[in-house]
Amino acid sequence: MFKASFISKLALTIVIAGALAGSASLAQQEVKIADPTSVVMIVNRDSNDLAFMDIKTTKIIGRVFLGNNVNPHMVMMSPDGRYVVTGGTRANKAYIVDVRTLKLVKVINVDIAPEHLAFSPDSRWYYQGNPEGDSISVIDMQSLTKIKTIPGFVEPLNVTFTADGSKAYVGNYGAHWVGVVDVRRHELLKKIQIKEVPGIAKLDPDKYLGEVHGINIAMFGADGRYLYAADGDLGFVGVIDSREDKIVKTIKVGKDPWRIYMSHDGKYAITPNNGDQTISIIDLKANKVAATLEAGENMTGVNFAAGKAFVISSTSGFVYVYDMSSLRPAGRIRIGVNIQLETATTDTQDQKIYLADSTENAVVIIDAKTEKFEKITQNVGLFPWGTHIMDSKDNYCH
């Protein structure tokens, strides 16, 4: 049965459904998700699917299987709420799912090992990063086709669009620079070095000529002008002025910062430093480190809610808590023993955190105020790797 739909750019949607030949019966498609903000999306690496959990009932209300060995990595909803997309790391494909019907509607060949991705603010462009292909695949969400592959990156992990959608900043984890992309032409415009590799590095080839821990992501501060990007090997955060695309300041943080996370009130940023198991809290007004606090091992993410920061320590099974008003440690939550935690998203009310607990095939819902948690294990999927809520300020992956 064919189904045809006209979708207005002004969000007017018309659906007509009919039989292939002869019959004139018209039927409306089954709508599974009417409100795209009502669900938590869960990407499952081993069951190769996306699961959709209703926020109110915490029940899994839908699932989209992507195919064997797809190994989806990160899930994200388009800002207009129409599509959910993911990159299949081992399939080298991008998957596009219709949100209303939860139907896989398009599979697009991209470059090698697609992982992290981003949408332009107008939902028109889906940039899929391909870390092993050293490229970004540009997918037009109107025609649902890949229109270009932008080469020239080095292990591109995360993409950040400017608010007007004219430029995108790409963190290169295999190098020490941030790429600036002209979104109108989908071309790499510029490379911004965070900081010079110290000359003394010549004596330390193991560190600088071994595996590079470069830049994961460049994130905008609250003013929308300055971006912050942490370089793992250098242990510095570079502040980029997006008007001139130049570094205006560098801030020394702890050892091997994984990436930077922005607090929702725009006052602070946090780098989890896996090299020395600390976090650095950066005062964004003064552009300097306000506190360096003890944290856990193998940190994979930071979420902000109820005036606190929740730092996920993947292999220890703990979530470390910090009071963001006093900038002091505020305890830690033991999620479990012999487990592996991945990444989390925060609801739009900044009340609950939805954390992927991969080895237990669970999603852990943490009440940010009380710090009590509930584990959802029924029907989540195998090896949940990340979660996503539309309009959440903590949508990220690792």
């Binding site: 739909s5 006209f6 949607t13 064997n68 193991d206 480190v289 470390y320 808590v321 505020a330």
Partner: protein, 488 residues
């Protein structure tokens, strides 16, 4: 449009002709995206402007979902030669990708802890069942995550590492020279010294949250302390070690964590200064000051390492509580004759206008002198408004044979990019030690530590010491030194 909510689209009238074409009328003028869906096919999506009399041709591609239980199939009418060719092309592309990726495609297997319900007949149920008891079991799980060979090898090496004894080395060479500038000439004047130290660490995970650790240290060469004879050691490497030029067992202990890993218990041969009287800026003779007076607090009066127990309660909210005891004399025949006990409370504070600071208060009791002697002290390190600068200080007071010993020290550490290279550290410190029985010491030290590589550091030290003994001239020394330190 963030926040926009999709509502189910209302149906509109349309007509399907016998040849399969659609006619849709009564669509208001405007720009639209025409989407066509069909089971088993990918969505077609294109922009259209209405009104128009143009005919839009739509070609649907097959949607492949390998492994899908009910993979939708196109009807016979659509399964034409072109589709077969498309499938071949897709397969060829996939083979190319596989060859490029060299992937390990055997399904991943692992063992998972699961909860099941077992009844009196030993029948197992996945869900709660009347008469069945909730039980934990373990079973193999097979999943389809294809990994690259590289990932698989890395994982295997990591697994092997977790189950073997980890060995670490911390080696240091510290040449020092002594120039006497004050007082009656001593043997140390214009003499050179070199102490070489090598610590071998062994770590093994022996049970859940339980670790065995041993540190065997070899010291060789004379430090200046044998000739200067000061109150505190000018080279902290030999602190609390009795013998030189032979191997010493510095520590050997088991540590376990209980109560949700809030409480750590350590038992064995301990160096209690590793758990008490910490200081972020003046605690590590391998990276910071070389003089023991700027590494430890003499008021602790802990002469040797020994058998003991330490308990550390750390709820990770900034408050810590520690309690420990150890043997304090190697020649004691029982623990009751040489019991050294120590308690400490620590707090992470943020004074207004400053960065974070660690404040610790300790109290100790020691019966190694055949009667109990007590001592107390504080150790603090406080980051100033600039995070690169840390102020540190210690104070201690201890009962002595006559009156009390008093000690304080303080100084600054500069780090986090406040040097030539980002990993460099440098500092200045002063220590003031008055013993109850008379001798006094005033020591100042400055050092600069270059982080040459992750595993190798080079530092330069200069110490200025005044030793005052009752009835004798004050003796003053200037002690330059170098420390080469490698840890891996």
């Amino acid at each position: 449009m963030p926040g926009m909510k999709m509502t189910p689209p209302p149906p509109i009238p349309g007509r399907v002709n016998n040849d399969g074409t659609f006619v849709v009328a009564q669509v208001p003028a405007g720009q639209y995206v025409l989407q066509v869906d069909a089971p088993g096919f990918e969505r077609s999506s294109q922009e259209v402007t209405l009104p128009t009399t143009q005919t839009f041709n739509v070609k649907l591609e097959i949607l492949e979902i390998p492994g899908a239980e009910t993979a939708a199939k196109p009807s016979g009418a659509q399964a034409n030669n072109q589709q077969t060719q498309d499938q071949i092309n897709a397969l060829e592309q996939r083979v190319r990708e596989l060859e490029a990726g060299t992937v390990y495609s055997i399904p991943e297997t692992r063992t998972r802890k699961t909860t099941v319900y077992v009844d009196k007949n030993s029948n197992i149920y996945d869900q709660p069942t009347p008469g069945a008891k909730k039980t934990t079991t373990y079973q193999r799980e097979r999943v389809y995550r294809r990994q690259s060979i590289d990932e698989k090898i890395t994982q295997a090496l990591d697994d092997q590492g977790k189950h073997s004894v980890q060995v670490g080395v911390n080696a240091a060479i510290a040449p020092q020279a002594v120039f006497q500038f004050k007082g009656e000439k001593t043997d140390a004047d214009r003499h050179a010294y070199q102490l070489s130290s090598a610590d071998l660490f062994f770590t093994a995970h022996v049970a859940q949250h339980t670790v065995f650790f041993a540190d065997v240290v070899g010291l060789s060469g004379p430090p200046p302390d044998l000739e200067t004879g000061g109150l505190t050691l000018l080279n902290g490497f030999s602190a609390r070690l009795v013998r030189q030029n032979e191997l010493n067992l510095r520590e050997a202990w088991l540590r376990t964590e209980v109560f949700s890993q809030r409480l750590s218990l350590v038992a064995g041969r301990l160096d209690l200064t590793n758990y008490f009287d910490h200081n972020a800026a003046a605690n590590d003779e391998t990276r910071q000051f070389l003089s023991d007076a700027l590494v430890n607090n003499p008021a602790l009066n802990l002469a040797v390492n020994g058998s003991g127990v330490a308990a550390i309660y750390d709820p990770k909210n900034g408050l810590t509580f520690k309690l420990g005891f150890q043997q304090s004399r190697t020649e004691a025949t029982n623990l009751s004759q040489s019991l050294y006990s120590l308690g400490e409370v620590g707090y992470v504070a943020r004074p207004p206008g400053l960065g974070e600071g660690n404040y610790r208060f300790w109290y100790r009791n020691d019966n190694s002198a055949d009667h109990y002697r007590t001592g107390y002290g504080v150790s603090l390190d406080q980051k100033l408004g600039v995070q690169q600068v840390t102020w540190f200080g210690r104070y201690g007071s201890a009962q002595a044979d006559i009156r009390r010993d008093h000690f304080y020290s303080g100084g600054l550490q500069f780090s986090n990019g406040a040097g030539f290279y980002p990993g460099d550290i440098w500092g200045v410190g002063y220590a003031h030690y008055d013993t109850g029985i008379g001798p006094k010491e005033r020591l100042a030290e400055a050092y600069y530590n270059f982080a040459i590589s992750e595993k190798f550091r080079l530092s330069f030290h200069l110490a200025h010491v005044l030793e005052k003994k009752p009835g004798q001239q004050t003796v003053g020394y200037l002690i330059p030194g170098i420390r080469l330190q490698a840890s891996f």
